[in-house]
Every structure is written in structure tokens, then in C-alpha cells.
Homo-oligomer: 455 residues x 2
Amino acid sequence: MKKLSFFLITFSSFVVAQSKKIEQSIATLYETSLTDGASYDWLDHLSNQIGGRLSGSLNAERAVQWGKEELDQMGLDRVYLQEVMVPKWVRGTFEYANIETSPGNTINVPICALGGSIATPAAGIRAGVVEVQSIDELKSLGREVIQGKIVFFNRPMNPTNIRTFEAYSDAVDQRTQGAAEASKYGAVAAVVRSMSLRLDDFPHTGATQYKGIPLSQRIPASAISTNGAELLSSMLKLNPDLRFFLKQNCKNYPDVLSHNVIGEIKGTEKPEEIIVVGGHLDSWDLGDGSHDDGAGIVQSMEVLRLFKKLNIKPKRTLRVVLFMNEENGLRGGEKYAAEAKRKGESHYFALESDSGGFTPRGFSFDCSNEQFQNLLPLFSYFEPYPVKEFTQGGSGADIGPLKDGKVILAGLRPDSQRYFDYHHAANDTFDAINKRELELGAAAMAALVFLIDQR
Amino acid sequence: MKKLSFFLITFSSFVVAQSKKIEQSIATLYETSLTDGASYDWLDHLSNQIGGRLSGSLNAERAVQWGKEELDQMGLDRVYLQEVMVPKWVRGTFEYANIETSPGNTINVPICALGGSIATPAAGIRAGVVEVQSIDELKSLGREVIQGKIVFFNRPMNPTNIRTFEAYSDAVDQRTQGAAEASKYGAVAAVVRSMSLRLDDFPHTGATQYKGIPLSQRIPASAISTNGAELLSSMLKLNPDLRFFLKQNCKNYPDVLSHNVIGEIKGTEKPEEIIVVGGHLDSWDLGDGSHDDGAGIVQSMEVLRLFKKLNIKPKRTLRVVLFMNEENGLRGGEKYAAEAKRKGESHYFALESDSGGFTPRGFSFDCSNEQFQNLLPLFSYFEPYPVKEFTQGGSGADIGPLKDGKVILAGLRPDSQRYFDYHHAANDTFDAINKRELELGAAAMAALVFLIDQR
């Protein structure tokens, strides 16, 4: 009995000591990220020296080279590029729209072509406008009403949904499917209210898809700023016969070669089990992609840099992946997963940051209930920081293709209230990044990777 | 037995129904704040049409008039001004500093006079510099080292403290006491590193105190931007004999009359019990005080507006107080509490918003353990929003004087990572406010008041 007591006391002291040690390691990760971090300076370079990096562009290739060079300098065990063919869409030299309120009287409104859209004819398109709130409404109106018209999709993101990513998901079908659906009823163009919760003058781009629509039947698609959408809608109430003028010369090219950028630290105990952290290296072209997803790129790189700097040797192989082409193709994520499968690699955990560089509030996990239950004890380590929202749900687009029923997928969940003010717009620039918030996100990611690797 | 079961089932149905009703009321408060709120437009006016409103200034009086007029239009049961004498300190027409690295070679650095500081002589002060990290270090150096010098207090806010208000509290003695302490050892001026976690070029003002120091022995006090502090510190390492030049013509005047602005909705069941929501109407003069504390003012006003608009009749008397002179005197808060005591008013709950207009993360309560335990069941109503941090601790400066061992005091706790980027500096302006974040704060406050009044 005495022996058992002794054992229990010793064991519980051991557990307390272990727990203290883990707390200390996490505190050191946070301190280093906040006082000696690289993420902010990296993002300064990526945003201000490289800038917007749309898949297939010269800038995207400059970003690939920069990413590889930075990883090369970190003394990782392996750094390499993974070839991936990506779509190449170019915005062109102009995009322009106005509302013709009466013959000869026009008001300019801010628009931008949606990614993947075709151009208008060189002289532009001038046509009447049918405003709809949804694709269902479009269908109910039918060809009789839609034929020859510009369809204006104007359902706002729901401002009462505190979960802004849900509000986005609930509205974005207008952008991704609107043009394709409208073309089926004879529309000549689609203009979509920007996916933003703010009233301002920035049009927000993003991918539109022509799935199943033959080239000859495709119609141009643009986003209009939220202020522009409000104006157009109120003008339509005054004059339902007003006409809208749209002109853009964007263009699709054949796929081109690009790369995922990969770096890794070999695991000391289970090197065959892989932990991935990543974000996407490509961005839209209007801003410099600081929040989407420059932040996720530099935070992911920072996780490995912190491990190296603090001499933390992961048990499993820790890999950073700078995915190419999340925005308009997801080719990088798909290629990475396909290659992993082909090579028979075993992924243990994958973590993506692609929700902006704001104060981290939690993580979302895409895994089984049992896996999630097993993770619960880890979350209390985040109490001091304070990161408090651990939920089951989505993870990240780029790591999604890794899903195989075994790997645990997760996404960093920063505060989301400001994200759609910047998302895919010209104001997604470095000045919208707060250094501490960015660094706290990197630290939280490093802490989670550390905790999960410890198990 | 059957009767008891029937009672229990009926009772538990009643409890569930009540709980659903409360959830619905809170949802409506949030929805109204987000889609039909007044807080953002109010703040636009206060910040952009009135601007900085230092106690005793014309702008502070314009803010008082504006506050009263807005409350008058809300159809409250009573709106009135409460007289309060406030300090009047004026920044003057110039403030200027440079580092003289060698005779004739100077580098300008951004400084601003600290609130309450005296002026320099008209020709300015040129003197050698002693850098210290703390008042303790100042004392240990003593008169021999300090006499005739400018004391440079350069201890940064601790960047590794995630609780930025703690980091502020731990550093701010340099600003509030530094000049007074340095004068005791013969210093000719005090220059204090700005209370900010960011490296930039904004000097941050704030009150300094000469408690117990006779007028003739007071020395001028300035804040230097964090970049300026870093530069001065590194220059001192190269040349410990460099000289610093400081010139400012700020001035203290006799106290002047100002006002707290008060509006109330009379309680339906316990009108003699008072619930207060408030913030402070005065601000520093460098920016327009949008975060400090324009946000708290409009959020507090919004609580009463939401109750009126949604026809929620509080059981207790609900009072909004726009406190005057938090920044350099706290005279409004003290006067309000003194008047409450004199009139024998009974305060049940007081809530302050004075931590910026950022995403609300929780509330801090200054109350007994027993009171806090009784509040716990209320907090789960905030789960959907998600407001998750309910702690015991401080509340707000203006409501602090109400503390009497009975009243529950609380403070809104928004995300604090960006607050000290703007606090007391020229960049605390309306463009730094996010509409949704501001509105979410107002909604959270209204929800808490509603819940506590329901009890």
C-alpha cells in the first residue's frame, strides 16, 4: 500500500511537472513570436515588395521563389518545389461601368471583373437590368424577363449573422454560380453585389464558374461595390428601365506551370507521420493579399521557424506547405494530396490559416467525434492567451483534399468581424495588418502543433 | 403525486419558455444594433463634426450640448445636465524636440506634452539625458547623476503580456509619476516613452501628476513616440553626452464649469433601483477620441435607444451617464457618485465601456464572489455571439466612485490587442473604428443590462 501511494504521488508529481513544462514551452513560443518574430517582416516583403500574386502571374512566380529562398535560409531538413499546373486568368487593362439614368446621363459605379469571367465585347454591353435576390428568383422570372438583360444579384451577406464566414457562404452562390445560371435564361451579363458586410466603394472580386456552359454561351460577370449596389437598386426603383453599361477586357489563357513550396523538419520519433501547416501563396490581384492569405503563409512559416529557433524537435515530421492556386482552382491543394497518396505518405494532422491575420479566437476541427474528444484536454493550455473557441466544423480549403477519415484537419479561427471588409478587394493591403494580432495567430498555431505532436 | 408531476412539468416548461423568450430578446437587441443601430452615425458626428474634446475646452462643451440634444430626441423620461468643475489644461501652440547628436547636428523626434505638464521656458530646454527604466532606477541614481538633466523613462509596455491593459498598468507610472519623481532629484524635464505596443511615430499623451510638488519645482513632461524612444536610446549608447532639446508652451488654467450628461428611463417595478451605463465624454486633444471614449459614449446611448425602440421597459431605472473629465481628473465620476450619495440613490448595477470600440470578448465584474456566482447563469446567453470572457476584476474609472459594497460594477472588455496603438494619440480617429465591432459592443452591453435587470 505504501508502495502504491508512493507510486501515485510520484506519478502525479510527474504529471504536474509535465504539464508545467508544456505550459512553459507554449509561453516561450508566444514570447518569441511576439518579441522576436519573423512573420510581420516576411509579410511586409511579400505584400509590399511582391504584392498581389494571382495564379499564373509573374508575381506568383516571384512569390514561389521568395518562399523557397526564405525556407532555404531556415536550415530545414528539406525544402522543395512541387509542380502544379494552374489556371491563368488576366484582368486586362480596363474595367468600367455606369448607370445610365436617362439617355446621356450616367453615374460611374465601381466594379471589377470576377475571376474567370470572359470579357465584354470591345464596345462594352449596354442593357436593361433585372435585380434579383437569388438564383431561385432568377429561375422563377425565366427567359421572358431575363432575355437580353443584365442580371443584378443583390442579396447582401446577412449582417445579423455574427459568424461572418457563414454569412459569406450563404451569399456567395450569387458570385460563383450567378453568371452561369443567368446565361441559361438569355442574360447578357451578370453583376453581383460585393461579398462584404460594409457599405463602401471597393468592389470585391472572387471566382465565378461557368461549369457546363459552352464557351459561346458564357456571359461576362462583374462585382459591384456595396455602395454601387445600393445606388443601382434605388435607381432601379425610380426608373426600372434604366440601362447599365459594362466594359471589361479580362481573359483566360491555357494553364501554366507553377509550384507548391514545401519545407520540412524531420520527426525524431515518428518521422513517417506528417504534420502539415500551411496557407495559400496565391492571392487575388486587386490588393496585395495581406489578409488573404499572406497572413496564413507567414504564420505557417513562423511555426517551423519557432521550432528551429527554440530547438524544439518534433516527434513527427513537421512540414510547411505554401499552397498555390487556392483562389481560382485549388490545384495546389489537390496536387499535394494526390502526391501524398501516390507516395503513400501518412498525414497525422494538418492545420491551415486562411481566415485573415486577426486576433486568434480559436480553432475549428474537421475530425471524428472521438478524435475531437481526445483533443479536449489540450485546449485548456490556451486559457491564458486567451484562445477559447474550439469547435468541430471546417478546416481550410487547401488541406481539405487530404481528408481520408484518419487525418485530423484544423483551421485557425481569428476574429472574423473585419475579414470581409478586405476579402478579395483592393484594400486587402499590409496597412490593414496589426503586427501583434498576426504574431498571436502564429503563436497559437505553433502551440497547437506542439501540443498535438506531443501526444 | 400526479399533481406534483404536473406542477413540475408545467414549471419546467415555463422555465424553458422563459429562457427561449430571453434568448429571443437578446437576438433582437443584436439584430437591431447591427441593422438599425445609431452608434456608428453618432460616433461619426462626435468624432468628425466635434472632434477632440479635452475637459474645459470649447469642444467639450459642444460635446455636452450634442449629447443632451441627442438624448432629448430619444423620448427618455428625463434628461439633464449635472454641473461639475473640471481642470482646464491647454496644449498651446507648439511642442517640439530634437536630439543634438553633435554640436549643430540635430534629429527631430515626435513628442507631445503630457496632460497637466507645465511649459518649458520660452527658449526651450537643452540638456543632457539620463535614460532610466523605472522610478526605482531614478532613485538609485540620485541627485548626483540626475541634477540638471532630462530624465528619459524608457521602459516599454511588456509585449509578452497578452492582457494589454495589464501591460499598460505596469508601465504607466513612468508617465503619471515620472516628472514629479525626477524633479525631486533636480531633473530639468522628463521625457517618457509612449504607452504603446507598436513601434511608430505617434507620441501618446495622457495625464502626468505633480502631487505634492510645489509649483516652482515642477518640471515639464513630454511623451516621445516609440520610434523616437528607440532612436534616442540607441543614440545615447553611441554618445552618452548628447543633448536633447525640448520646447512646449502648454498651460494650466483655473477650473471651469462643465457637465455630466444624464438621461433615464424610469423603472416599471423598482424605479428606486438604478442601473447605469456610461462612458466618458471628454477625450484627449490629439485625435478625435473615437476609441477613447467616443465608442463608449455612443454604445451607452445605444443601450437606452435599443430599449426604447424595442419597447423593452426596464424594471429598474435605466440611466445613461456621459461622464465628463475622466482623462485628467475623474471629476465627473466623482461628482456623480457624490450626488447619488447625497440624494440617497440606490445603485443596483453600473456598466462602463472605456476600452475601445473593438470586438467584444467579455465583461469584467467588480463585485463580491457571491454576487459573481449569482451572475454565472446569465453568461451562457452570450454563447452565440460569442462573448466568452467573464471575469472578476476591474470595471471602469468613471463608475469606480460608486463602489459601496452593494452595487455590482462591470466593464465591457473588447479585444485589446489594438487599443494601445491609438490610445491618447493623434491616430485615435473615426477611421480606426469598425462599424460592426462597435455595434456588437453596444449589443453586448444592452444584453447584459437586460439580463441583469430581469433578475
